[in-house]
């Protein structure tokens, strides 16, 4: 079983082993990078659904081949009924390219609280050895579309057809596409930051939201890093309020923004009276409804895990 990926600038075409053809477009004003690590990352979930070998007609760094192979292995280990290990064969494998250590980064911003916090904590130096933020990336094409506020740093918009093309995997989410956009833009940085979508404490409850992976959507020349996961939503909001324009642009998070029901409820309560927020009365009704739906979904998921994955876990 072999899938073939061909990249033409900002457009890549995947001919899957099952016969389907998908096209991913990442439109932006800059030039395309000389290696196709990002495009492979963006298309990877579609290949992981069928398994087999992925032939890449283009150059990849050796680190990207290794990382993306492990990414597929990890998801296959997490959910073997849906994902499969794959073997990546690139036309050219580039050795010896290491990310320079200038400690600058481009930050992905979605309009949500988490990504705003990632941006603020590096701009304001709220973490040890913060990255120097050179640019902010917004990927347009995921719902809802947001208005970009005036950042202190340049902003770049990448438009994608990933949703329309069915390339956003329902289990994995938009991260591979965002990673592909970060790779595509680069903005002269060696690091692309995106916000982690759950708190680490959520990983201590069963069922866990998703596997905890190291930063595997990287190549040797460009590193895509997850950031955050240890700050509670009220603390995030307090930090973001230091930048009024950015804070005003936050879209009130829904439950999907945090893959942890407790953090999501916390965030919603924090943002209840925020412009664009749901308001406290509507919130309480919605939280009750959401809680019922989440409980039902988690129960079904747990039952699914218990039967499909054959894990008679004692707890």
């Amino acid at each position: 079983m072999t899938s073939v990926l061909t990249v033409h600038g900002s457009r890549s075409v995947l001919e899957r082993a099952d016969g389907r053809v998908s096209t991913l477009e990442l439109e932006h004003d800059g030039d395309a990078p000389d290696v196709v690590d990002g495009m492979v990352a963006g298309m990877l979930p579609a290949v992981m659904r069928v398994g087999g070998t992925l032939q890449v007609r283009g150059a990849m760094t050796r680190g990207a081949v290794r990382n993306l192979t492990e990414y597929a292995e990890a998801w296959a280990s997490w959910d073997p009924d849906r994902f499969h290990r794959i073997r990546i064969e690139a036309a050219t494998v580039v050795d010896g390219r290491r990310a320079a250590s200038d400690h600058t980064a481009i930050v992905a911003w979605s309009g949500g609280l988490r990504s705003a916090h990632t941006l603020v904590r590096h701009l304001d130096g709220l973490v040890p050895a913060p990255f120097t933020v050179r640019a902010v990336l917004h990927v347009a094409g995921f719902a809802p579309d947001v208005t970009l506020p005036a950042f202190d740093v340049p902003s770049i918009v990448v438009r994608t057809n990933a949703v329309a093309a069915g390339l956003v995997d329902p289990e994995i989410g938009v991260l591979p596409i965002v990673a592909a956009a970060l790779h595509a833009v680069g903005a002269g940085c060696t690091v692309g930051l995106h916000a982690r979508r759950w708190l680490f404490t959520a990983q201590q409850r069963y069922p866990r939201p998703e596997p905890v992976l190291p930063d595997l959507l990287c190549g040797d020349g460009f590193v895509v890093r997850a950031d955050g996961g240890t700050t509670s939503p009220p603390r995030m909001l307090a930090d973001v309020r230091r930048h009024p324009a950015l804070a005003a642009a936050i879209v009130a998070p829904t439950r999907g923004a945090f893959r942890d029901p407790i953090a999501a409820a916390d965030a919603e309560a924090t943002l209840a009276d925020w412009p664009g927020g749901p308001g406290r009365r509507r919130l309480s009704t919605r939280v009750a409804l959401d809680r019922a739906v989440t409980d039902a979904r988690d129960t079904l998921r747990w039952l699914g895990s218990a039967t499909h994955l054959r894990r008679p876990w004692p707890r």
Binding site: E73, A74, R87, H103, V127, A129, P214, D220
Partner: protein, 408 residues
């Protein structure tokens, strides 16, 4: 009053490196040191990130900041900051606060432009490290494999420094595999368990990183085998791959490998290489660290993994798995048999393995009492012990059938 920091100094010798810690509170203080003894003179890395990272979790347990009198990189500091923040979020009772690591100078630490990007791998002789070494050295994953240039075997982690005599036996047992892979085997000894080991197993990979970083002038990457697979339902009790990756820095990348594979998967992957499987050393509890006792829990679990992979009588054990080995296992509560479920039972069941030993394991696992029941019984027992006078307790104990009575 705030807690005073621990001051860290680095001392570099030709074949021995030391970190000296001054100002630690409690039994480890006020002055302690960690040393690494190397097989040959190796140039030190330009930054101390890897050596310090092995000890930050210990410092976080003490709640003391680290003031490092030496160079560190911004990338390393960023990773260490994340590591501590995450560990504190997961276990605030163990890691008391998010400590600061303050070096006296921050320097860039890029790899040389002509760096070949080769890797050095930690090797213990166990299944996980054998799998990692073989799959990269024999390029079982094609272009995704690192070019491994050596294996490092450590005295001071699973083999304590007091058993140095047996370490030679372990080394001799590992040498055929190293020869087969055409790789040199470097022995390194360290007392890092004394301080950094207080946070074991969470500090396991950062400590391995501190050993492998001694080779970082030649090797940009250190390979170590992952602990719990990605699919493990519980996160954070051991050393997950994601947190292990934070022991990397700008100069040296630590990669924990094989996290997507169960132990039976690894045996199946190595089944075509008897040279790899014949010398496996998985036993921690036997009297001889150079061989497998075949009876302890780890040995029995590994025997089951072999059985699930279709190998009933592997040559690294003295004989085949017998039901008596399963009968001798202690299974007091679900908490204690978690590993048996995870690394054995699930893999046996997934592969439809059967046999008398498997059937006995199934029956025994089905009867393991839940943790809550056991905790309740212990609590009731504790109350009874306080309420009933000792003389009466002894009298009851002596009248119980089968009780051994001391000789008069």
């Amino acid at each position: 009053m705030s807690t005073p920091p621990i001051h860290v100094w680095f001392d570099d010798g030709p074949t021995e490196r030391r970190l000296v810690f001054e100002g630690a509170l409690g039994p480890d203080g006020p002055r302690a040191e960690t040393w690494w003894r190397l097989p040959e003179a190796l140039p030190a890395p330009p930054v101390l990130d890897s050596f310090v990272c092995g000890h930050v979790q210990w410092a976080a347990m003490l709640g003391q900041d680290l003031v490092v009198h030496g160079p560190m990189s911004r990338g390393g500091l960023q990773n260490i900051g994340q590591l501590i923040a995450i560990r504190h979020a997961l276990s605030p009772e163990r890691y008391r606060r998010v400590i600061d690591v303050v070096p006296d100078r921050i320097v860039p630490a890029p790899r040389p432009a002509d760096d070949p990007g080769v890797a050095i791998a930690a090797f213990s002789g166990g299944l996980d490290s054998t799998f990692t070494a073989v799959r990269h050295a024999r390029r079982l994953i094609g272009d995704a494999a690192y070019r491994v240039v050596g294996l490092v075997i450590v005295l001071g982690f699973d083999i304590p420094l007091t058993r140095a005599d047996r370490f030679d036996d372990v080394r001799r047992r590992a040498e055929p595999l190293a020869r087969w892979l055409d790789l040199p085997l470097y022995p390194v000894s360290t007392n890092a368990m004394h301080l950094g080991g207080r946070a074991w197993p969470q500090s396991a990979l950062p400590l391995f990183g501190s050993v492998l970083a001694n080779f970082s002038q030649q090797c940009a990457v250190g390979l170590a085998s992952a602990a719990a697979p990605y699919g493990t339902p519980r996160f954070g009790i051991s050393h997950p791959t994601m947190l292990d990756a934070l022991a990397s820095n700008e100069f040296f990348t630590l990669v924990s490998d094989g996290g997507a594979f169960g132990r039976t998967d690894k045996i199946e992957a190595l089944a075509a290489f008897p040279e790899a499987l014949d010398g496996l050393r998985v036993c921690w509890q036997g009297s001889d660290p150079a061989s497998n006792c075949g009876r302890c829990e780890k040995c029995v679990m590994t025997r089951f993994n072999f059985l699930a992979a279709g190998m009933a009588d592997p040559r690294c054990f003295d004989g085949p798995l017998e039901p008596s080995h399963v009968a001798a296992l202690s299974m007091p509560s679900l908490e204690r048999v978690r590993d048996l479920f995870r690394t054995c039972w699930n893999e046996l069941e997934a592969r439809g393995t059967s046999g008398p030993a498997v059937e006995l394991l199934r029956r025994r696992l089905a009867r393991v009492p839940p943790d809550r029941l056991l905790a309740h019984l212990r609590r009731v027992g504790g109350v009874a012990r306080r309420l009933v006078p000792a003389r009466v307790r002894h009298a009851i104990h002596h009248r119980l059938p089968g009780t051994l009575r001391p000789e008069a």
